[in-house]
């Protein structure tokens, strides 16, 4: 863990400006095995200190790849000079922030424990050997292990200080089979999430049942059919529900995108979804338990709280940084986050989730005469207008309330606030993943989750 040596530098904070000093280490461990061949085997650390200085809505940011008292002094000076440079060139000044949203100390929430590379490789090879032996007819198989842990110390001039650690270790398993006509199809599964190697992968045998499910999916897919393109009734699985929460809605209610003209701007306080839909960006706790990727304090020194974005179908709020919160008359809830020491904080999601409803998954599927059950998504994107797209890498037909043939890869799309109004059944449990990524100038680890939902959506096909 980083050593906390920076408090003394608070004396160097300039009067009359808002300052955040951050020391950070990101730790990466990667092992990749492709069809039995170790193709990637690497360890990386990135460490440094940064300062963010803001005055009258203009900001200076500076970072140095060094964690020392001297480096802290340098970045404070350089960030201050950058803010002054902005003041010389900016035509309009921004918003003057209120003096404080509360001060205090957020205590350290854990530790990052390193694992020997050999242990990681051994765990990956054990998984790979098991798959090779158990499923010998696979065309190809892959194991990709990734650790991307963060350790941050934050000192702010007028907000909270804290020392936060976020260990994350994931293993992505891929299986490939050929269809009858010889074209390959794949399915993937992400395992793990928050936690150190020992927390998640000391016993990989716990994941064997997941491998069995994955094999069934890829086997079904190898006999799959193209979806029929068009506007269809579907049951979205929890993984797809999480993608919907993040991509289709989450991005449009990030306040910087609202300022850029997103569809959420004119819809605040209005009905944007079925009354069955409540969407929350959880800070660190869900239903009394740790959320997939807990955030206790953001990189502006704001103590993290949940952001309720849609309540019973009504758009109720945005995700903010300090400045946008002031602009929109909202309270910042700790969404300003930077990925590496050299990254300035941007408005980012944390654990974005549509809350569960009352139906069982079986009830949702039985209710569909002719439609699709869409289980897993590979990636997703959304636009300012709320037009979204998710890839569907695992799905099935539903015929007369029964699961039918598997689907080949396809895509669903729609306009978020139109599509959410078609949600008419929501299942009573939530599926979470802590292995997610989001790209927005910088990458960011995110958690997302959702229940099963019945809705209407555009699906691509042949």
């Amino acid at each position: 863990m980083l050593t906390d040596i920076y408090e003394v530098n608070k004396a160097l904070f300039e009067d009359g400006v808002q300052t955040v000093l951050r020391a950070q280490e990101n730790r990466y461990r990667t092992v990749s095995i492709l069809k039995g061949n170790l193709v990637n085997n690497s360890r990386r650390e990135s460490r440094g200190v940064s300062a963010l200085v803001g005055k009258e809505g203009l900001y200076g940011f500076a970072s140095i790849a060094e964690c020392s008292d001297e480096a802290a002094k340098k970045v404070l000076k350089s960030a201050s000079e950058n803010a002054k440079l902005m003041a010389r060139h900016a035509g309009n000044k921004g918003i003057v922030l209120p003096p404080s949203y509360g001060t205090g100390l957020v205590p350290t929430n854990g530790d990052i424990v390193d694992a020997e590379q050999k242990k990681i490789i051994d765990a990956c090879r054990k998984m790979d050997d098991y798959i090779a032996q158990k499923y010998p007819n696979l065309e190809s198989r892959s194991i990709y292990y990734s650790e991307d842990s963060q350790d941050r110390i934050i000192y702010s001039s007028d907000a909270y200080d804290g020392h936060l650690v976020t260990p994350r270790t994931c293993m992505y398993v891929g299986m490939s089979l050929k269809t009858k006509d010889g074209t390959p199809v794949e399915c993937y599964k992400g395992l793990g999430g928050f936690g150190n190697f020992e927390d998640n992968f000391a016993d990989v045998e716990q994941y064997y049942p997941e491998l069995e499910k994955l094999y069934k999916k890829v086997k079904d897919k190898s006999e799959g059919v193209y979806a029929e393109a068009g506007y269809k009734t579907v049951v979205l699985g929890g993984d797809m529900g999480g993608m919907l929460a993040h991509e289709a809605v989450g991005h449009t209610v990030e306040a910087d995108l609202v300022m850029g003209g997103s569809v959420a701007g004119p819809n605040l306080g209005k009905k944007v979804a079925s009354e069955l839909v409540t969407l929350v960006d959880f800070a660190h706790t869900y239903n009394g338990e740790r959320a997939p990727l807990p955030v206790y304090l953001d990189d502006e020194g704001i103590k993290a709280e949940d952001a309720v974005l849609i309540k019973d179908g009504i758009l109720t709020g945005y995700m903010n940084n300090r400045e946008t919160a002031e602009k929109f008359g909202m309270k910042p809830t700790g969404n300003a986050r930077g990925w590496a020491f050299c990254d300035e904080p941007l408005i980012r999601m944390r654990n974005t989730c549509i809350l569960p409803g009352k139906n069982t998954v079986e009830e949702l599927i039985e209710s569909v005469d002719d439609g699709y059950y869409l289980i897993n998504s590979g990636n997703g994107q959304a636009d300012l207008t709320g037009e979204f797209m998710f890839s569907v890498v695992c799905g099935y037909e539903i015929k007369n309330g029964k699961i039918g043939r598997a689907l080949l890869d396809t895509t669903v799309s729609g306009i978020a606030f139109d599509m959410l109004k078609t949600v008419d059944m929501v299942s009573n449990e939530v599926e979470w993943t802590g292995c997610g990524w989001c790209g927005k100038k910088q990458q960011m680890a995110v958690g997302m989750g959702g229940p099963h939902m019945r809705c209407k959506i555009m699906i691509g096909g042949r």
Binding site: L34, E45, A65, E116, Q117, G260, L384, M389, D409
Partner: protein
Amino acid sequence: MSEMREVADLFDNILIDKKIDKYTYVLVESEKQELNAQNGEFKLMRTVFDYYTSLTVFKDNKMGSASGNDLSKDALVKLAEDGLTASESSPEDPCHDIAPDQGKEVFRQGPYEPDMDKFIERIQECLDSIKKEYPKVNVMAAVGSYDKSHWISRNTNGTEFEDFSGHYNFFFEISAREDDKTSGFGWAGVTVDDLDTPFIDRGNLRQSLEDISNSIHTKSIDGKFEGTVILTPGAASNFLGMLISHYMSDGVIIDGTSLWLDKVGEKVASDKLTVSKKPFDDRIVGGERGTQDGFRAEDVTLIENGVLKTHSLSLYAANKTGRPVVKNTGWSLVVEPGDKPLSEIIKSVDKGLIMGGFSGGEPGTNGDFSGVAKNSFFVENGEIKYALSETMVNGNLGEIVKNIRDISKELVCNGNSVVPYIAVDGVVISGK
């Protein structure tokens, strides 16, 4: 930055002390000065001083890598130990290797000292021009950065590359608004090594501003049909990137799932298509000079007049599969132009799209793609009719490169690629 060579000498000694007799490493010192504007106004100035160190150790046919961002002696000792530990943990695989001796060479690209006053003027000029000439456009975010780096790469076969490079990047994300109606995102960017020309006149910045201004009022098309899609240079780059990844790159050749596994020397695409990666092309800024395998980078043609000339394989994949290595691990995409102007190509289209962006799932190795046509316009009877929303496109990567009907004579050079408009037939287009 003059101390880098001394640091490299120190690192060599550390590696020798650790009795590591086969390795390759790169040491990088970098600096970024970045100006950020939001909603058309300057907002944040960011400077980043960083290092990057990366070591790959080969021991008894075992390979392991370690990297960091600290040039101190203690950090380099730890890097050597981590690299050694990683290699010792690895299974034996003699296919992991480094390039034979390429000699010693120093590369210099672009301005090594920035003209920040001129750079800020050019950014301000661009923002002012947009306000004046494209009043419906909101520049949601504009990022201009000057990036410079100095790196040294050495390996135990004797190669030493040293590189000094600097360049300017400018990128914007835009939307357009009329009354209460807003368009979707648009974006464009360039990498340049001079500030002689206003940014708005470089790459496809002006075209992107025109397009977003015309994308406020959109419609979905009716029904479903198989039609022609004119890929803009940005969309064409995206599709060709997916084609290279899913048909020609390490993973799909090693595991044998590429549909072009045994197609080298055969016709795989329209004879109109020639695709290269050319880091030494004059229109490319900051092209690759030393590959990740330790080769001196070379220009390489992947597809020539529709014939697959080579897969795009690293040294490991080449050793693993017994196929030739490609001495090029960068991008620098160059696609040869056709002889028709874009306007003539549009006139020849009965029914289809001009597609500026593709928002879709990553295709599988079978090449099937499915997604939403973004920043796109409906074309009918040779005329652009209206901007599109909620319109999906489906097809297959391997098929569309066979179905190229035309390639434009116009090229867009953004510093990272040189690509024309490419019109392809046989794409299924469906509306709501």
